[in-house]
Structures are given as structure tokens and as C-alpha cells.
């Protein structure tokens, strides 16, 4: 579903990404680990075509994101570290707007309420203006948007950083549900524990390169931490 082929991105003389090759299939949760500046966010931005690649391709469903961004974005959902919404609109209204931006006009008001219910947002909260939301509630709306959009690939940029453990856990549960529905999920994170728990595969990045890929069922928590620290040395 998501595929990076020799993907390079440089800003002037600085190479942020040095030929990345990566595949995330349907039902995969691929966790990108790495220090700040390793190229995780750049990778996600390239899939979203927020930045143009220097060379190589970021493909979504087999389509180059740089060649036809409007088409590839139909399949994508994006949940950044902080899901930003319109503070003067309610959660419901935000959801409806973004869902329709994604090209889904057919939902009824009940459908929207249903999405929010599924991600665990209280009914009274859904009608409140987003200004009053906590971070966890915003992230839930982000997932609801992905649900409503029927996204086949999710790009998550440190979505759980700053969430309390309970909210973080709830978020992981939602990801597992999406995975079960066949979504391909690419998540940049610093959270080794969550990566091991929810992820199916893990990629460790360093200075713009993918230095190692592993399956989560191949390693234990302790091994993962050891391998990670070795690469960061």
C-alpha cells in the first residue's frame, strides 16, 4: 500500500533522506524509530507530498505521490503529533468537513456520530467546540476522520507523544481495530514499548537511512531496546 523506492530528499547540501526503500502492506503497522532528525517526519511528508522528493518515489497504492498527489491523498489519512482542528467548530463539524474534503459526501449525521462513538468520544463532547478539547480527544477525532475517510493507509507522526498512558492505550486499541480492517499504517514514534506492542514491523532510521528492519514477533522488548541503542551509538 505504501512504498518508498530509493527515496531521497535534500535541503541544499543537507541530505535529510538518503535513498529510502520501504513497503507497508495492508494490515501492517510499520513503526519508524529513530532520533530527532533521522528522517521520519520527512518520510511522512514525502508520502503526503508536503515536500517534493529530490529523487525516487513515494508510492501510495502504486501511484507516485508526487505525480498525482490529489489521487494518492484519497487513500491517505494523516494524524500528526497534535491533530489540529478548527477551534470554533464542534468535533462533529470538524469531522464532517474533513470527511467531505476526503470526498465522502454520503454520510448522515448519525453516521458521523457513530464514528465519534467508535473512537470513544462522549456524545456531549462531540457537540462542543474543539477549543475545549484535550489532546487525547483531538487525537480521537483524528482517528474518526481516518475512519470516515475509509483511509487505506494511515500516516502517523508521533501521535501518542504527550498523551497520558490511558489515552495512549486507547489510541493503540483504535490502531489495532484499523489494522484489523486492512489499513496500512506507517507510524513515526519514539515509544519503543508501543511500537513492540501494536506494531507488526519496525524500521530503525539514522541520518536519513533505514539501518534495520525487524518483525515485532521476532524480538522481545529488551532486544528491541538493545538493538535500537546500538544503532544510535
Amino acid at each position: 500500500m505504501l512504498e518508498a523506492i530509493e527515496l531521497k530528499k535534500s535541503y541544499g547540501s543537507h541530505e535529510a533522506l538518503k535513498g529510502l526503500n520501504l513497503r507497508v502492506g495492508a494490515g501492517d503497522i510499520y513503526c519508524l524509530l529513530g532520533a530527532n532528525g533521522a528522517g521520519k517526519t520527512t518520510t511522512i511528508n514525502l508520502f503526503l507530498n508536503f515536500v517534493t522528493p529530490t529523487s525516487g518515489e513515494a508510492r501510495v497504492n502504486g501511484i507516485d505521490a508526487n505525480a498525482d498527489p490529489l489521487q494518492t491523498k484519497r487513500y491517505l489519512a494523516y494524524i500528526p503529533e497534535q491533530v489540529m482542528l478548527y477551534g470554533n467548530l464542534s468535533g462533529l463539524e470538524n469531522l464532517e468537513y474533513f470527511a467531505r474534503l476526503g470526498g465522502h459526501d454520503g454520510y448522515s449525521a448519525d453516521d458521523y456520530r457513530g464514528f465519534l462513538q467508535r473512537v470513544g468520544l462522549q456524545e456531549d463532547a462531540a457537540a462542543r467546540r474543539v477549543k475545549t478539547y484535550s489532546k487525547g480527544m483531538r487525537q480521537k477525532v483524528g482517528v474518526a476522520i481516518a475512519l470516515a475517510k475509509q483511509a487505506r493507509a494511515l500516516l502517523l507522526d508521533e501521535p501518542t507523544s504527550g498523551l497520558d498512558p490511558k489515552a495512549s492505550n486507547e489510541f493503540s486499541e483504535l490502531l489495532l481495530q484499523l489494522k484489523g480492517e486492512g489499513a496500512a499504517i506507517l507510524m513515526a514514534t519514539h515509544d519503543l514499548f508501543r511500537a513492540k506492542e501494536t506494531g507488526t514491523r519496525i524500521g530503525i532510521m539514522r541520518s536519513g537511512r533505514l539501518v534495520q528492519e525487524l518483525s515485532t514477533d521476532e524480538v522481545s522488548h529488551a532486544d528491541l531496546e538493545r538493538i535500537y541503542l546500538e544503532h544510535m551509538r
Binding site: 490529489l70 478548527y86 474533513f98
Partner: protein
């Protein structure tokens, strides 16, 4: 997609106080401007009516005197005679029989009627007298008077709808658009939106459409209401044509400011920087460039001083009086048919001043010409340099559409001068032939009929500023396209 974003933007705008505050201000400003414009036009119209009524009243009394005189003669017999000039009124023929007195001591007011849109753009109409006394004096006497008004207020300028459109509307537009993209970026929602199949161009266009439709609907609707409010009759084709042109100019001008906000926004700077740049651009285009162009015009082609004109006029007057014999000879040489029988040197006051006026007129003609030429030069320079600022183009366009332009006034002056000639010829020939005015003559005095300019002439003058605004908008629409492709959604 466009419809979705437009309705979303409209909803967002409706939920922020800014839009309502701005619309409220706009409604208040246009309402106040309509009130002020109406006041100005009414004041001028009253001035014209009062002045004309006074002169008509004087002539009506003279006519009544001649009627009484004619009746007296009919009763007692005798011939209807010409009154010689006499300071002491009393018996004999009344002064009203003397064409020289009637023609010189009363005036017919030549009035430039306001167009249906006059209240929308006052232009120079508050300093130019739009009702001129046609009498037997010199042209200088006709145009020397000025509309009176508190000079401090004249300097401040009128609060007309043109001011609201040219000065305030851009501020309101920029207040709604200066952070068009930058606010979404700073809020983080830009990335959320662009993760969906929406292009930046679509997003920008929809945002502009949402804002522009609200603003323009209000401006245009209120413009029409303002017209009705000042009592304009909307049954004339000309008024609708002018209003259409007025709307077109307003549309293009507003579009320019929306596009300017887009141009500044696609560079991806912060809202505060965008704000500074747009406020600075507004100041430069609306305030500084017009004053500089005006300075350039008056420096390159300074109007000859009116003081010099006054001195020259007196020079001519003195010379004329001193060589009165000569002037009189010349006058009669040119009007041989009018040499009074028997009385070969009609050395009375009016004849003298008649001859004098003619010689002053002749001496001043070159100076007038100079004034006119410098004014034309200035106008031509302004016409050329108007393209430096949309505000200048807009002011010229609005003045033109409202019928308060310099060109329309010049055309009126030409008609007024012609009429003065007509008036002068009528009374001078009757006076010099000593042919007494009879009561029925009073109804046959020359009457001024203002001939409106052909619509084509107005359109031709509007073509420049309108085409300039249109080209500017097209250029402004194309400029951001390249930059848009390079727009950085994500911070590095």
C-alpha cells in the same frame, strides 16, 4: 469541493467576531457616507437654486416695472423708450428697458446638473462652483467665485462612498485575508486539510470566494441602497449605466486587494510579517504614490499663479480704462452695425465697461490658454501615472462614473463660456442699438440648456482606468502561481 470549502470558510468566518465587526463598520461607513454625499449634493443644489431664484426675482421685478411702464403708456400715450443709465430711480422709463442694465446687473445661472451617482463620489465638486453666473462681465468674472466651505474640511476631504471604497474597503479586505494561509499554517490545520485530496490553489480560491462574496454583496447592495437613500431616480438608463460602471470598478479594485493578500500569503511568511507587508503596501499605494504623483504633476507642470492672473487682469483693465477712447473706437470698429445713430460716443458708464470688458477679455485670453494648457498637461501626466496605483485609477474611475470628473467640468465650462457669449451678444446688441427691452422680451432671453456628454465620451475616459485595473488583476492572479508550487506546507 469548492462549494464545500466555501461554505466551511463562510461558517468559520461567521463564528469569528472579526467578520461581524468589519461588516458592521462597513455598513456604518457606507450609511454615513451616503448621508454625507447626499448632504453635499443637496447643499450644492440648494446653492444653485437660491442663486438662480434671486437673479430670476430681480429680473421678474424689472419685467414687472416694464409692464407697469407699458400700461402707463397705454393709458397716457407716448412712445416706449430706452432708459439711460441713471443712479436715481424715478419717473420715465424704468431700468428694465435698458438691455445693458439687465444683461450686466443680473445674471443667468448656468448649472451643471448632478448625475444620479453624484453623491457616491464628491470628487472636486465641493470646490468647483457648479453654478456659474453668466453676465456681461469678463470670463474671469464668471469663474472667479468659488464654492464656499470650511477650508479645514475641504482639506480633510469628503467622507463619501468613494472614500469608503478606496481607503476603507482595502483595509477591511486585508483584515480578513492577511492571514489567509499563514493562520492555517500557524494553527496546524493546513497540513490536516492538505492531507486530503485538495490542492492549495483550490483552497486559496475557495477562501477568497468565501470572503469576496460576503464583502462585495454587502458593498454592492449597500451602494444601491445608498443611491435610493439619497433620492436618486433609478428610471434612467444613464444612471444604471453609470452604476454598472461604478460596480465594475469596485469589483476590480476589490479583486486587486484580495489577490494582493494571496500574493503575500503564498510566500509562506508569518501572519505578523504578512500584516506588516500588506499594511505597508496599502500605505504606499493608497497614500504615498498618489501624493507623489500629485507632487510630480504640480512640479512638472505648475499651474500659472492665479495671483499673476489677477495682476495681469488689472493691468489690462487699467490700460483699457486709460486708453478708453481707443478701446471704444476698437469696439465700435468691430461692431459697426451697432454704432448708435446720432450718438457717436456713448460715453456712459455701461458702454465704457462693455468696451473695457471686451478689451480685458482679449488681453487675458493668452493667460487663460496657458492655464488651460497646464491643466491639460497635469491631467495628462496624472492619466499616464495613474497606473502606478490602483487607488488613483479607482478615484479617476469613480469620479468619471459619478460625473464629478475634471473632464466633465471642463466640458461644462466650455458650454458655460458659449452661453456667456450668447447672453452677452443678445444684450450687447440690444443695448448698443439702444433698443428698449419690452415686457415680452423677458421671456425670450437666452436660456442655458445643459447638453450631457455622449455616453461614448464617458466610456472612453473610463476605458483607461478600468483596463488598467483589469490588467493589474490579471497580473496579480498570475504572479502567485509559480510561487504556489514551491509553497512549503511542512516546516523543516
Amino acid at each position: 469541493m469548492y462549494r464545500l470549502i466555501v461554505s466551511h470558510e463562510t461558517r468559520l468566518l461567521a463564528r469569528t467576531g472579526a467578520l461581524w465587526a468589519i461588516l458592521l463598520l462597513l455598513v456604518f461607513a457606507i450609511g454615513f457616507a451616503a448621508l454625507a454625499g447626499g448632504r453635499s449634493v443637496t447643499r450644492q443644489a440648494k446653492g444653485a437654486a437660491d442663486a438662480a431664484a434671486f437673479e430670476d426675482g430681480v429680473r421678474a421685478r424689472m419685467q414687472a416695472d416694464t409692464e407697469a411702464y407699458a400700461a402707463r403708456l397705454a393709458a397716457s400715450g407716448g412712445t416706449y423708450e430706452f432708459a439711460t443709465v441713471d443712479h436715481v430711480p424715478g419717473r420715465g422709463p424704468p431700468q428694465g428697458t435698458n438691455a445693458g442694465v439687465v444683461g450686466a446687473e443680473t445674471a443667468a445661472y448656468v448649472v451643471l446638473p448632478p448625475t444620479g451617482l453624484a453623491a457616491l463620489s464628491i470628487g472636486q465638486s465641493d470646490i468647483q462652483l457648479r453654478y456659474l453666473p453668466a453676465s456681461m462681465g469678463t470670463t474671469l468674472d464668471m469663474v472667479k467665485n468659488l464654492e464656499i466651505e470650511n477650508p479645514v474640511n475641504l482639506r480633510t476631504g469628503p467622507f463619501d462612498i468613494a472614500f469608503v471604497v478606496i481607503f476603507l474597503l482595502p483595509i477591511f479586505i486585508l483584515a480578513l485575508t492577511y492571514d489567509l494561509l499563514s493562520s492555517e499554517k500557524e494553527r496546524g490545520t493546513l497540513a490536516m486539510i492538505l492531507a486530503h485530496p485538495v490542492s492549495l490553489r483550490e483552497l486559496l480560491a475557495s477562501k477568497i470566494v468565501a470572503r469576496a462574496s460576503v464583502m462585495l454583496a454587502v458593498v454592492m447592495g449597500l451602494g444601491l441602497l445608498a443611491l435610493l437613500g439619497v433620492g436618486t431616480q433609478l428610471d434612467q438608463v444613464e444612471t444604471w449605466l453609470r452604476f454598472g460602471l461604478w460596480l465594475l470598478a469596485t469589483l476590480l479594485y476589490s479583486l486587486f486587494w484580495f489577490l494582493l493578500a494571496v500574493l503575500v500569503n503564498v510566500h509562506g511568511r508569518s501572519s505578523a510579517t504578512n500584516g506588516i507587508m500588506l499594511a505597508g503596501t496599502w500605505l504606499i499605494l493608497v497614500v504615498i504614490v498618489p501624493t507623489l504623483v500629485s507632487l510630480l504633476a504640480t512640479t512638472l507642470y505648475p499651474a500659472p499663479s492665479r495671483m499673476d492672473l489677477i495682476v495681469a487682469a488689472r493691468e489690462a483693465q487699467t490700460a483699457g480704462e486709460k486708453g478708453m477712447g481707443d478701446a471704444l473706437d476698437r469696439f465700435y470698429a468691430e461692431h459697426l452695425d451697432q454704432l448708435p445713430a446720432g450718438d457717436q460716443r456713448a460715453m456712459d458708464f455701461l458702454t465704457l465697461s462693455q468696451a473695457n470688458a471686451a478689451s480685458i477679455e482679449k488681453a487675458l485670453l493668452p493667460l487663460y490658454q496657458q492655464f488651460r494648457e497646464q491643466a491639460l498637461h497635469q491631467e495628462a501626466l496624472v492619466q499616464r501615472f495613474q497606473y502606478l496605483s490602483p487607488a488613483i485609477m479607482m478615484q479617476l474611475a469613480l469620479n468619471e462614473a459619478s460625473g464629478t470628473s475634471t473632464a466633465r467640468y471642463q466640458d461644462f465650462l466650455d458650454q458655460a463660456y458659449r452661453f456667456r457669449g450668447e447672453w452677452n451678444d443678445y444684450f450687447a446688441s440690444r443695448f448698443l442699438a439702444r433698443s428698449p427691452l419690452r415686457p415680452e422680451d423677458y421671456d425670450r432671453f437666452p436660456r442655458f440648456e445643459y447638453v450631457p456628454e455622449p455616453a461614448a465620451a464617458v466610456m472612453a475616459r473610463l476605458a483607461g482606468p478600468l483596463a488598467g485595473l483589469l490588467l493589474l488583476c490579471i497580473g496579480m492572479a498570475l504572479l502567485p502561481l509559480r510561487q504556489l508550487r514551491r509553497y512549503q506546507v511542512a516546516a523543516r
